[in-house]
Symmetry: C2
Subunit: 225 residues, 2 copies
DNA sequence: TTATAAACAGAACGTTCGGTCTTTTACAAG
DNA sequence: CTTGTAAAAGACCGAACGTTCTGTTTATAA
C-alpha cells in the first residue's frame, strides 16, 4: 500500500518495499502449501509454517493477523490457476479440450492439476473447512465464484449427446465428486497404478455421456458469463 | 473381565459390574460418534467427549488409555454393521440386492448406511487418518479386512455383463470413490435434492455396467472367503 | 537529513490439548 | 460385615496451540 508514485495501472515490476513484501508473503504462502500437502491441515500450525518459511513470528503475524486469514489468502492463491487468475494460466483450460478424448482430458486434469502439491493443498483446506464453520463462511464466496466459473467453462468444453444443457453440469459435477473421492483415497494407498486404473475405467464409462466441443481456446473464453 | 461364573458362551445378559462397564463404554462410544458427526475429528477432544457422554475424565481414561485407542475402538464398532458383526446386522447386505435395480440399491445404501450418523462418523475417522500416521497404522488391518469383506460381498451381489470378475471390483470401487466424494460434498451444501440428483444420475450411468445377481441372502453368505 | 509508517523480530499471553495421578465409590468374594 | 479389586471421579501436569504485545529495523516522503 505504498510507493504509489505512478498512477498508471500496477503492472510495473515491484521494487523496494513492495518487492520485499511480495517475497515474504510468497515465502509464507509457499510454506503453507507445502505443509498442507505434507502433514495436512491440523498439523499445519503457525509454528511449523514459520519454521518452514524461514520467517519470524512477527513477519507472519504482520501479514496474516490470524491463521484463518492465512488460510483464506492461501486458498485464493490456489484458486487463481483454475480461475485463470493473475498468478497462473488457466490450468483446467490447458489440461482439457485438446480433442483427444475425455479420458485423456481427465488423466491430464488429474496428473497436471489435481494430484499436484497445490491441488492436494487445496483439498486439504476444503476438507478442513467442512468442520470449521468460521473458515467455511470465510471462503464460501470464493468457492461459489469458483464453481460458477467451472460451470461456465464446462459448457464451452463439453456437451451432452442429448443436448440437455443442465445435464452436462450434473455430469461434470459427478466427475468432480469422483475425483474428490479419488483424492482422499490416493492418500491411503501408495499405488498410483490402481488410482490410474480407476481413473481410466471411470473416464471410459463417462465418455459416451459427454462429447467434446471442438473449438479454439479463444472461443472458449469469449463468453465469460 | 469378571463374573465369569458361567463358563457357557457369553450370551447371558450382563449384570452388576459388567452391566455398568458396558453402559459406560457404550455412553462414551456413542458420544464419540455424535461428536465426530457434529463437529468433526479435530474438534472431538477428550474434554468434549467426556462432557457429551456425561462421564468423568477418570472413567474415560480407565476404558480408553489414549485418544487413539478410543478412536480405534469406535472405528471397530462402526465397522461392525458392514462386516455383519455382533452389534448389528449386515447393513450393506440389507440395503442392496433386493432385485429392484442398482439405482435403488445405491439410494438405499446412501440414505440407510452412509448418510447416517455412524456413516458420517466413520468417514470422519478415515479422513483424519489420512494425515495421522499413527492412527492410520493402527486402523489399517481393520480397514484391509473390511475391504476384503466388501469385495467378497460384491462378487455375490453383482457381476459384470462381460463376465470379467476383476472388473466388478473396479466398478464397485468406483462407486465407493464417488460416494466418498459425495460425503465430503454433502457437508458443504445443505441441499439434499442436489445430492439425490447426483446420486441418481451416477447410478443410472453405472447401471448398464453392473448387473445384479438374483439369489437369496443365504447364498450370498455361504462363501465368506 | 529527518520524520513517519510499515516491515519485521521475538518474548509472553491465556487457553486447550492429551495424559497422569491420587482419591473415592461400587461391587463381589470370603 | 469385612475385605480386595475394579470402576469412576476429578485434580493436576507439561506441552503446544493461536494470539497479543512491545521493541527494533528498514524504506520512503518531506
Amino acid at each position: 500500500m505504498q510507493s504509489q508514485i505512478t498512477p498508471e495501472a500496477d503492472d510495473s515490476p515491484p521494487t523496494g518495499n513492495d518487492l520485499r513484501v511480495a517475497r515474504t508473503k510468497a515465502r509464507i504462502i509457499t510454506a503453507v502449501i507445502a505443509c498442507l500437502d505434507e502433514v495436512g491441515y491440523s498439523e499445519t500450525s503457525i509454528n511449523r509454517v514459520q519454521t518452514t518459511a524461514g520467517v519470524s513470528r512477527g513477519a507472519l503475524t504482520h501479514h496474516f493477523p490470524s491463521k484463518e486469514a492465512m488460510m483464506v489468502e492461501t486458498l485464493e492463491r490456489l484458486l487463481d490457476p483454475v480461475r485463470g487468475g493473475t498468478h497462473a494460466p488457466d490450468a483446467i483450460g490447458q489440461a482439457t479440450g485438446r480433442g483427444d478424448g475425455i479420458a485423456a482430458d481427465m488423466a491430464r486434469l488429474w496428473s497436471k492439476v489435481l494430484n499436484t502439491r497445490p491441488g492436494r493443498a487445496l483439498v486439504e483446506i476444503l476438507v478442513a473447512a467442512r468442520t470449521d464453520a468460521a473458515l467455511s463462511a470465510r471462503i464460501q464466496p470464493s468457492l461459489t465464484a469458483y464453481n460458477d466459473q467451472i460451470n461456465v467453462n464446462i459448457h464451452s468444453l463439453y456437451q451432452s449427446p442429448t443436448g440437455d444443457a443442465d445435464d452436462i453440469q450434473v455430469l461434470w459435477t459427478i466427475c468432480r465428486t469422483f475425483l474428490r473421492g479419488l483424492h482422499l483415497q490416493a492418500r491411503f494407498e501408495d499405488n498410483p497404478k490402481q488410482t490410474q486404473r480407476l481413473l481410466e475405467r471411470f473416464a471410459h464409462i463417462m465418455e459416451p455421456h459427454m462429447t467434446a466441443r471442438s473449438q479454439t481456446k479463444a472461443e472458449r473464453h469469449e463468453k465469460p458469463v
